[in-house]
């Protein structure tokens, strides 16, 4: 590449990446034609013209604040003339960062209020847990599918053309039954063991005691009190486990009835878990163990374990049944297992999904 081309490429960064993708080659040709013979870089007047043009182009393509802020803060759809801008915003690098930054105020405002109060330590711990849980969840989601869903929400057009991109019909990606059921069994097993142990061992619990507020007819406040006996928790745990076994038997019957004659799925593509699902699941396991340990050692009073342990014990046998069936039913999606288990109805045929691709790729197809 000649030094003049390098200079042009550098100053053309004033324009958006999408604009450069469309125009950079022809603008570079014009810049080279206009430059004096032997020029090694663009002159000041040309540079200023490109900078002004780049800013003007960005300004023209960016929606006004009255459109931008509702989109960024509340995910409101933008008017049709900004579909190309919103496509770039969602599909270009840094989209996740921009999306999360836009929603940050939802977390910052309550956090700011809480930090100014007396419960600063507890609030920080709670927000740390929430942040880790959010990160773990995001890691378990397939990035491509998030982009596709957001594009379908914000950049759907009729006719199906967005700038130099077009909407096309494509296969619907579904997580295969076995890896999906395996992840479910893993989380429920860890939850059942850790939270049940914590529920039994927790030395303290939350209780209400009367208080003496001046002028109040009745007053009570929530305090941490020592545990007196564990029978109150072991009985529900046992009952949940027994109910879970019964539920698993019923689900097993439903699946046996409907999985054998499930329909063909021409619009479906089976995929594994998301690429970063491993670290995401590990974070979830770490969170569950940390929370259970905090309650088992008395750092936190018995609270979450009292609810989460029975819930996990109730669902774990069913998840195990799903996993066993998934291993012996090739070509099945996790969503099929969930649908039949939950509704008792036959497996439904997937409809085709839609995706936005460059028009040039469509021509090559």
């Amino acid at each position: 590449m000649r030094s003049l081309d390098r200079s042009a490429a550098f100053w053309l960064r004033a324009y958006t990446p999408a604009w450069r993708a469309r125009r950079a080659d022809e603008v570079t040709a014009v810049l080279v034609d206009l430059a004096p013979d032997g020029a090694r870089s663009l002159d000041l007047r040309t540079v200023l013209g490109l900078l002004r043009g780049g800013v003007a182009t960005r300004w023209r393509q960016t929606p006004p604040l009255r459109v931008y802020l509702p989109y960024r803060l509340l995910d409101v759809r933008v008017p049709p003339q900004y579909r190309e801008w919103v496509r770039q915003d969602i599909a270009s690098p840094g989209a996740l960062r921009r999306n999360l930054t836009g929603r940050l105020w939802l977390f910052v405002l309550p956090l700011w209020n809480a930090l100014a109060s007396d419960t600063r330590g507890d609030t920080l711990a709670m927000w740390t847990v929430l942040t880790i849980a959010l990160t773990a969840t995001l890691l378990c989601v397939r990035p491509g599918s998030v982009v596709r869903r957001r594009l379908q929400r914000h950049a759907r057009t009729s006719p199906p053309v967005v700038g130099s991109w077009v909407w096309v019909r494509t296969s619907r990606a579904r997580v295969a039954a076995e890896p999906g059921a395996q992840a479910l069994v893993l989380l429920l097993t860890v939850g059942a063991v850790a939270w049940s142990t914590a529920a039994v061992l927790a030395p303290t619990r939350l209780g209400s005691v009367p208080c003496d507020a001046a002028g109040a007819l009745a007053c009570s406040e929530l305090v941490v009190v020592p545990r007196d006996h564990t029978a109150l928790i072991t009985a529900p745990l046992t009952a949940a486990l027994l109910a879970g076994v019964g539920l698993a038997v019923a689900v097993r019957r439903r699946l046996a009835r409907h999985l054998a004659d499930r329909p063909e799925q021409p619009a479906r593509q089976l995929v594994g878990l998301a690429p970063h699902a491993g670290p995401g699941l590990a974070l979830w396991v770490g969170l569950i163990l940390a929370g259970a340990t905090a309650e088992a050692t008395g750092t936190w009073a018995l609270s979450l374990s009292a609810l989460a342990a029975p819930a996990c014990l109730l669902l774990l046998p069913t998840a195990a049944v799903l996993w066993l069936l998934a291993r012996t039913t090739p070509g099945c999606a996790f969503v099929d297992l969930r649908h039949v288990a939950w509704t008792g109805r036959p497996v439904e045929v997937d409809r085709y999904d839609t995706d936005l691709i460059p028009a040039a790729d469509l021509v090559r197809r």
Binding site: R23, D25, E26, V27, T28, A29, V30, L31, V32, D33, L34, R45, T46, L48, G49, L50, L51, R52, G53, G54, A56, T57, R60, Q81
Partner: protein, 115 residues
Amino acid sequence: MAFRMSEQAYYVLLSLAEEPRHGYGVVQAVKDLSDDRVRLGAGTLYGILDRLVEAGYAEASGEVVVDGRLRRYYRLTRDGMAALAAETARLTDLASLARRVLAARPTTRPALGSA
């Protein structure tokens, strides 16, 4: 959004009205049409071309590669030709008005009176 017809945009429309041209061809044509008075830089030219294409006044009509460089040709659309005709009529009316005003103007400055 309404198209803002600047003098430079008018010259670009005029140059494309003659024949389809590529970017460098438009710059040269505008330079000739304006007697070397208007010299478009690449930034200004493509800002105008973007706006013309968005408004539906111009469209890409073909590409050729010359010496390894891409030349994309642009041509006026029917709407672009109509916009050019409308702007020309407006300028003609404006010039006629200016001529009438200047013709009616007294040749000698009237006395403003004394204090």
